[in-house]
């Protein structure tokens, strides 16, 4: 299977001499959902944000479908970013815009600022948006303002917005951390099924080990800025979890 993303020797230090990521090597191929687990502050979020350069790496290489994106800037960077979908913990919708407008912001990388301002999006984008609203079950909410939705609904809009980009990879940074358990499962199901439908890899940062086990095809365990486990969920043992999270009382 062709590689989509190759990360080599990735290091990030927000303060010189205090790296958060200490030499990460990871490869992602065309399909499957990868869950990145690890305790807070271990660099999961930094890792996922470096992939689309919301955070700049200190050292190392990120090869996305043959494009080295660790050093690009400006237009080049924007053109790579629009091929990478991202879902956020706090949904990050534009609160005062309608659900439809929020979906269409997924096309801002393709539509000129002036056309976007005049709400002149190509016909196919609007059609695609309605299709996605059907998929996430919010067809009746197209004209509602984003701030009138519940957390679960917002996150589904967040996922639909990312899918509007017709991304070649989908990143999700703690997409279920602000949601109740039932909604969390629904969101994970949506992420997983959309990854399969579109034939794209999905990379999810997640706190909940059970949820990761249930939905992931592959689990990456991180601790102290390093990858300490990388394999299918079946191989993840309590010993690994002790190593990833430290201590063992919480496992009982």
């Amino acid at each position: 299977m062709a590689a989509v993303l190759n990360i080599r020797g990735l290091t990030k230090a927000y303060k010189p001499g205090m790296p958060v990521l200490k030499g990460i090597d990871l490869d992602f191929d065309e399909r499957g959902l990868t869950a990145i687990i690890g305790s807070s502050g271990t660099g999961k979020s930094t890792l996922i944000r470096i992939i689309n350069r919301l955070v700049n790496p200190t050292e190392g290489s990120i090869l996305f479908k043959g494009v080295e994106l660790s050093r690009i800037e400006g237009r080049q960077l924007r053109e790579v970013r629009r091929r990478i979908g991202m879902v956020f913990q706090e949904y990050n919708l534009v609160e005062r815009l309608s659900v439809m407008e929020n979906l269409l912001t997924g096309r801002l990388g393709y539509v000129s600022a002036l056309d976007a301002w005049r709400r002149k999006f190509p016909e196919e984008d609007v059609t695609h948006a309605y299709e996605l609203l059907d998929i996430i079950g919010l067809s009746d909410f197209a004209h509602q303002r984003a701030d009138s939705l519940s957390g679960g609904q917002r996150q589904r809009v967040g996922i639909a917005r990312a899918l509007m980009q017709r991304p070649e990879i989908l990143l999700a940074d703690e997409p279920t951390s602000s949601l109740d358990p039932k909604t969390s499962v629904e969101i994970m199901e949506l992420l997983k099924s959309q990854g399969v439908t579109n034939g794209i890899p999905v990379v999810v940062n997640i706190h909940d080990v059970e949820l990761a086990r249930r939905f992931a095809d592959r689990i990456v365990g991180m601790t102290g800025g390093r990858v300490v486990f990388d394999g299918p969920p079946a191989q993840l043992t309590d010993d690994h979890l002790k190593m990833i999270y430290g201590g063992e009382g919480w496992l009982q």
Binding site: L54, R78, R82, Y91, V94, T105, G109
Partner: protein, 271 residues
Amino acid sequence: MSNAMATVPASRTWQRHTVGQKLARTALWLLIAVAVALSVQSINVIWEFLWDAPEQMMDMGRRMWPPDLAYYPKTVHAALMETFHIATLGTIFSMVFALPLSILAAHNITPHKGLNLFAKTMLVSSRSVNSLVWALLFVAVFGPGPLAGAVAIACRSVGFVGKLLGEALEEVHFGAIEALKAAGASQTSQILYGYWPAVKPAFWSIMLLRWDINIRESSVLGLVGAGGLGMAMNAAIDTFEWDRVAVILLTIFAVVVIGEVVVTYFRRRLI
């Protein structure tokens, strides 16, 4: 436990201020008293005139009453419309200049210290000069009339609108902007889709407030020849026609009250 309770002295006292705080407060009051005394001395009050003031006020009141209402349709109405135009045009001009300056001043949109400083300097210099002073300058440039007034109003308002709007922009929640960035949106698209919807209510609220202030300010700009109600008032004062001055004052009062009502109505609908 009960032992420990018993050893606590029976007469525990509580005081609001410690001795040091009391001394500091007394010193502060003394300082204020001295400052007031010095200021009164330095403004050279002519006491005869001060004692005379109530009588003079009564006299002026008698001259103002009854107001010469017939004067309103003759002159005041046209001057009032001019005041409206000065305030409205001035507010619109200020918006045009304040928008780019506020974007340059907001450090989250413009991460460039030099540009921030430039924009902030422009905004501060606009605010540091009073409307009347701006009007004096522009009367000298454009000659007396409403144009000078409108430009003066605009120059004073740019600083006000730009500062408040810049602060509103800086308070925009970063999350939505980050999401737009992640979708590959350009800086312009981020402003139009991320920042603008977030600051829109604040923007209209600031513009309405400034328009309200400008109505009041433009009604006195005429005192220095910049058109509007003030010009009519100046003429009436110069010729001691106090009954006409009264009509103008009543007009200003009515306009301010109506402006307040209108602004409050629209602001409530906006937010």
